[in-house]
């Protein structure tokens, strides 16, 4: 029981024959080799697998690849510019040490970019609410929240607010 799945992933059209039960995250990691999208749990709770489907953040471990047929998918590999310049949100995570072990980071960044798309100037409370679907097992939330705020400012073209004592 297999089917053909076609979609745009990070700007490139891809088409593969997959089993119908293939999850989108499996499709990305195992069929396309895009291992930046992580699997942190088996229970749809951790958010390490968040990608954008037609611009909206979803858990790729809780989406079938066939459900994404015909859509445009962006993964963490698709955020940076072609010349390797980091997306402002990625740069903010690096600058503000918004990661410890880094495992949750791809999902955090993808969720943050979607959050800022909808709310360009989020408050700290809104950032924390917006990241509820992402779990950091290192519990490094404090700097993640700072990074998202700085990333939002950078995405808006404003100067990033100075952050002390990280």
């Amino acid at each position: 029981m297999s089917c053909t799945v076609s979609m745009t992933v990070n700007g490139k059209t891809v088409s593969r024959e997959v089993e119908e039960r293939t999850l989108l995250v499996t499709f990305l990691r195992e069929h396309l080799g895009l291992t930046g999208t992580h699997v942190g749990c088996d229970t749809s709770q951790c958010g390490a697998c968040v990608v954008h489907v037609d611009g909206r953040s979803v858990k790729s471990c809780t989406t079938l690849a066939v459900q994404a047929n015909g859509t445009a998918v962006t993964t963490i590999e698709g955020l940076a510019a072609a010349d390797g310049t980091l997306h402002p949100m990625q740069a903010a995570f690096r600058e503000h040490h918004g990661l410890q072990c880094g495992f949750c980071t791809p999902g955090m960044v993808m969720s943050a970019v979607d959050l800022v798309r909808e709310n360009p100037n989020p408050t700290e409370a809104e950032i924390r609410e917006g990241l509820e679907g992402n779990i950091c097992r290192c519990t490094g939330y404090h700097n993640i929240v700072k990074a998202v705020k700085a990333g939002a400012d950078a995405m808006a073209g404003a100067q990033a607010t100075p952050v002390a004592a990280e």
């Binding site: 029981m1 088996d42 229970t43 749809s44 968040v50 809780t62 909808e118 509820e132 679907g133």
Partner: protein, 263 residues
């Protein structure tokens, strides 16, 4: 996940035919069904994806309120200018379901057909005099939820849309589980002229109306009118998150908060 055959019909009629297959399951946004399949807790032969059926989508203003297609995602309800204008409490409820990623996929029809005892939408369907329209008939919101994960839907019956009446005032107050964000107790209060409806989710096996609260609020629509009133703890849910007594206490607290929020 066990193997299944995936189908994506483009009309309601085709979906109604496809769901007749033995052990077929309807797929909305999949935010409950896919985790269930991943755990191998269900083994459908066919998954019928309802995502390509135009009849199931969209939010329309009706004479008395709103009609929302079954395949409308929580995020669409939460962000809809129409919903915010006509029944802002419903938009606010939708914005509090799960997390962003769940709201971007999960659908209203999926939520009510699943009838999780802790889901948020059932309280709105009951409090806002909802009517569930299926491919076969209309079901009053008061009759739709029949038990824990049980509804009045017959096998293979497909939810098309839900109608909500526009209240004069309404609000939903939820005491949520901080990990799952499901309602430990959620109370939806809606005022229609002299009539008040109070629907409680999370507390029992299925959504129910707190009729004593309704009577008190119909006479005096202020939080203070609920002083001294409580619901019976007997028969309420008890688990590691909250005892039945605590849930009973929360029902009154959340009802008061909802009344205050409704203004």
């Amino acid at each position: 996940m066990y193997a299944f055959t995936y189908q994506r019909p483009t009309t309601l009629a085709d979906a109604a035919t496809a769901i007749q297959a033995e052990e077929a399951k309807l797929l909305g946004g999949g935010q409950t069904l896919l985790p269930t399949l991943k755990q191998r807790l269900a083994r459908p032969t066919d998954l019928i994806d309802l995502g390509a059926i135009p009849e199931l989508k969209g939010i329309r203003e009706t004479d008395g309120g709103l009609e929302i297609g079954a395949f409308t995602r929580h995020a669409e309800v939460a962000h809809s200018d129409l919903v915010k204008r006509v029944i802002p409490a419903l938009a606010s409820l939708a914005e509090g379901i799960g997390d962003r990623q769940v709201r971007n996929m999960g659908t209203m029809g999926g939520s009510i057909a699943n009838a999780d005892p802790s889901a948020d939408y059932p309280s709105a369907v009951v409090a806002l005099k909802g009517t569930v329209t299926t491919d076969r008939r209309s079901i009053a919101g008061d009759d739709f939820f029949t038990g824990m994960f049980e509804t009045a839907l017959e096998p293979g019956e497909i939810v098309k849309s839900v109608r909500f009446a526009r209240p004069d005032k309404a609000a939903y107050a939820k005491f949520r589980n901080p990990a799952s964000r499901y309602a430990i107790v959620g109370v939806f209060v809606a005022k229609f002229g002299a009539e008040v409806r109070v629907a409680v989710t999370g507390a029992a096996g299925s959504v129910f109306r707190a009729t004593a609260f309704e009577t008190a609020l119909a006479a005096d629509f202020r939080a203070e009118a609920l002083n001294g009133l409580s619901v019976e703890a007997d028969g309420l849910n008890a688990d590691i998150h909250a005892s039945a007594d605590y849930r009973a206490h929360l029902v009154a607290v959340m009802a008061k908060r909802a009344v205050e929020a409704a203004g």
